[in-house]
């Protein structure tokens, strides 16, 4: 590592904030773009599992809340891709790479949604897992991204409440409604445990080394379990992991997730990966003319 890069690394590790126009090592810029782009991709792909359910929402209130939630996610994608653009990668290229499978998006958005139970579980628990990561990103060394995260976290605050409220209505409803939630939880628990990534020690995670992430993966997962397992169990729901328990030292033990499965899913082999990418490809092609007419520079 040359002296200038080393100096930069020492500075970000000491808490320095980097702005768009600052000199940055190529490695830092490349990692930043990849990480932030994946986040933007995830917000955009995250819309797909949920949007069908806007049309099927069982009350006007739920329809409005779900629409607003998904609107936020599209908005977050916009904010996040703008950060990537200012780092040098245009939006259309991000979209091209997403659709071609060249860039990735988070595991949870590669799975199908089957019922209104999924809607509640996703809005509550997937958003909860995401918010833990997003709060850690408030301390990202790259300041424009950290600033966007502030707005993102503020807007996300109602998503979890809406999700939990949706779940509560069902678990206090008919036995069939309770079952919808339990069945959804059974399917989503695995992806939730994968969500924060492999338990790589923070010091070995390049994202942490460059202070792009300020929290290790396992730390985030433990935070999720500590906050949400009690909330899930108190509703009378069962978590489909017989080994899940909180140790006396406060550390949660659980069945080790299959990390190969995670790698397979994020590289496009999840149950809904290809179908969703095809959908994106199609809708982008159909409205391509609009972007060309309206925003020729960003089409």
């Amino acid at each position: 590592m040359d002296a200038r890069t080393q100096e930069f690394l020492d500075q970000v590790q000491a808490g320095r904030q980097v702005e768009t126009g600052d000199w940055m090592p190529d490695e830092y810029r490349a990692r930043l773009i990849k990480f932030i782009e994946m986040h933007g991709n995830s917000e955009l792909m995250g819309v797909l599992p949920e949007r069908d359910w806007i049309l099927r929402a069982p009350t006007l209130q739920r329809k409005l809340a779900l629409t607003a939630k998904i609107q936020d996610e599209v908005g977050h994608c916009q904010l996040i891709y703008r950060v990537v653009e200012d780092l040098g990668k245009p939006r259309h290229q991000c979209l091209d790479d997403l659709i071609s499978g060249k860039s990735k998006f988070h595991n949870v958005f590669h799975y199908p949604t089957k019922s209104w139970g999924d809607v509640g579980v996703i809005a509550w628990l997937v958003d909860a897992a995401a918010i833990i990561s997003q709060k850690a990103l408030l301390k990202c060394s790259y300041a424009p991204y950290a600033r966007v995260m502030k707005k993102v976290c503020w807007e996300e605050s109602f998503h979890i409440l809406h999700g939990r409220d949706t779940v509560l209505a069902m678990v206090t409803g008919t036995p069939a409604q309770f079952e919808l939630v339990q069945e959804a939880l059974n399917r989503w628990w695995g992806p939730l445990m994968h969500f924060h990534g492999t338990p790589i020690p923070a010091e070995e995670d390049p994202m942490y080394v460059w202070r792009i992430k300020s929290q290790g993966n396992e730390d985030a997962r433990q935070q999720f379990l500590e906050g949400y397992v009690p909330q899930i169990l108190e509703l009378g729901l069962e978590i489909p992991d017989p080994n899940l328990r909180r140790g006396d030292d406060g550390i949660w033990e659980y069945t080790e997730p299959d990390w190969d499965e995670l790698m397979s899913v994020v590289t496009g082999h999840g149950p809904a990966s290809q179908e969703r990418l095809a959908f994106r490809r199609l809708s982008r092609a159909e409205v391509g003319w609009v972007a060309k007419v309206m925003l020729p520079e960003a089409a």
């Binding site: 949007r51 099927r56 629409t67 609107q71 939006r91 209104w116 309206m294």
Partner: protein
């Protein structure tokens, strides 16, 4: 059912079904900024529908969700214009502009209603609709200014014109027609309106999807 309730349901059904159609663009609009803007429009429409259903519900002894979700196909009073499935952007903007222009005429009349509740709600909706109209106008301007946009928009407007004529009754329709003709740089033909009362085939499919979760639990279940 009183004329008042019938009127409220007609307005509410228009807003609900159009809001439902506009929600189909969430996540797949032509670009991200517009996706967020258009979603607000869809939410506003659902919000208007809710307020209108609530007003009708008090008179009919039921609740807004029951009116929105639990009626039979024949009981909905929406205009054919809003029922069409046109998940194509030029058609969407054409419908958006035509509907907002017609709705403006309708709201002006309702704001002058003797019924204070209806006049009050119409005024509230109109204040929000101002932004919908601005949005529709800016899209119209921009698409008309680009050759490809203008061609597609003109096609959309011609296709939807007979349906748009069916949104308003004989009394209000002439004002709407005059405003459309004054605004567009091309002629729209004299055609028969596609009237309310007959539903487009797409409505049955829409209602089926819209109510599938609700119908999966007994009436009165909480969601």
């Amino acid at each position: 059912m009183s004329d008042r309730a019938r009127l409220l349901l007609e307005l509410a059904d228009d807003e609900l079904i159009l809001g439902w159609r506009n929600s189909e663009w969430t996540g797949i609009a032509p670009f991200l900024e517009e996706d967020v803007a258009f979603s607000s429009i869809a939410q506003n429409e659902i919000g208007h529908a809710r307020a209108l259903y609530e007003l009708a519900a008090r008179e009919l002894g039921t609740d807004a969700d029951a009116l929105a979700f639990d009626r039979t196909l024949e009981e909905y009073r929406s205009a054919p214009l809003v029922e069409l499935r046109r998940l194509e952007w030029a058609r969407t903007i054409a419908r958006h502009w035509l509907y907002e222009t017609a709705d403006a005429v309708r709201l002006e009349a309702l704001k002058a209603s003797d019924d204070p509740e209806i006049a009050g709600l119409a005024a509230k909706m109109d204040r929000e609709e101002t932004y919908h109209r601005i949005h529709a106008e800016m899209w119209l301007d921009r698409l008309l200014a680009a050759p490809e946009g203008r061609t597609r928009l003109e096609e959309g407007l011609r296709e939807l014109w007979p349906y748009a004529l069916g949104v308003l009754d004989d009394e209000l329709r002439p004002v709407f027609v005059e405003r459309v003709r004054a605004r567009l740089p091309f002629e729209l033909p004299d055609v028969e309106p596609v009237p309310r009362g007959r539903h487009e085939a797409e409505l049955e499919e829409l209602l089926g999807e819209m109510t599938m979760v609700r119908r999966s639990a007994p009436a009165g279940a909480r969601w």
